[in-house]
Amino acid sequence: MTTTIAAPADATGHGQARRRPRRLAMVASKGTLDGAYPPLILAATAASLGWEVGIFFTFYGLDIIHRKKHRKLKVAPLANPAMPVPVPNLLGALPGMTAAATAMMKGWMRDAKLPEVAQFLDMARESGTKLFACSTTMGVMGVKASDLLPGVDIAGATAFLDFAADADVSLFI
């Protein structure tokens, strides 16, 4: 069956009359694999729409732009009732269960041809997405500038809010 849902030849968007591009400001606060994907997917999408994008990586979210840790983000089966195969907490606490859950999710991502976190970060930097590293988190967690990926801006909450003040969409993830 063929269904035509849109055909008007002059259906140009109404976004083009805007003086400045739309802007997406996000706080990425989670350092798990499943916590890293949503802000990175939204960043890639917004950049594709011609939006300006900035992500403030704070607390555990800082691991997403950590030179070594961003390739080793994990999924926690412990206290995670949403696992596709429900894992009782007692079992989820056993050694190897986090690695198993992580391997499982990475397998799904591969099967779905979804880019890895590192590739999404490359896409973000190529599209000019601002990557803010929370300086307070760096101080609290003992993270040095050299621990972070290149292309990251070290900033406090003030600089991020200055960016976010002109945002059309703001998300805390």
């Binding site: 069956m1 063929t2 269904t3 035509t4 849902i5 849109a6 055909a7 030849a9 002059d10 259906a11 140009t12 968007g13 109404h14 976004g15 083009q16 739309r22 997917i41 939204l42 890639a44 999408t45 950049a47 594709s48 729409l49 011609g50 939006w51 779905a112 041809k113 979804l114 880019p115 896409m123």
Partner: protein, 80 residues
């Protein structure tokens, strides 16, 4: 839809959001204003995403069809 000619094609079958829109954005950047891109997808979300993409970027969505699990779009690049 058959009588609309296109200048370039993009195969996004087997890809999930955000890749179809991401690749479409890159492909349209290589076109001249007025040229038409044909995109084929299998992500059911694309039926909602491509009209939104065209609206956001100010391009013209000439056609959007769902052909039994395959979505086909024709987008004409508008001048920036």
């Amino acid at each position: 839809m058959i009588d609309i000619r296109w200048d370039a094609e993009l195969d996004c079958t087997g890809l999930l959001c955000p890749l179809p829109v991401y690749r479409t954005s890159q492909a349209i950047a290589r076109l001249e204003a007025g040229q038409v891109l044909r995109i084929e997808c299998t992500d059911p979300g694309s039926l909602a995403d491509f009209p939104a993409f065209a609206r956001q970027r100010g391009h013209a969505l000439l056609a959007a069809q769902d052909q039994g699990g395959r979505q086909v779009f024709l987008i004409r690049k508008e001048a920036a």
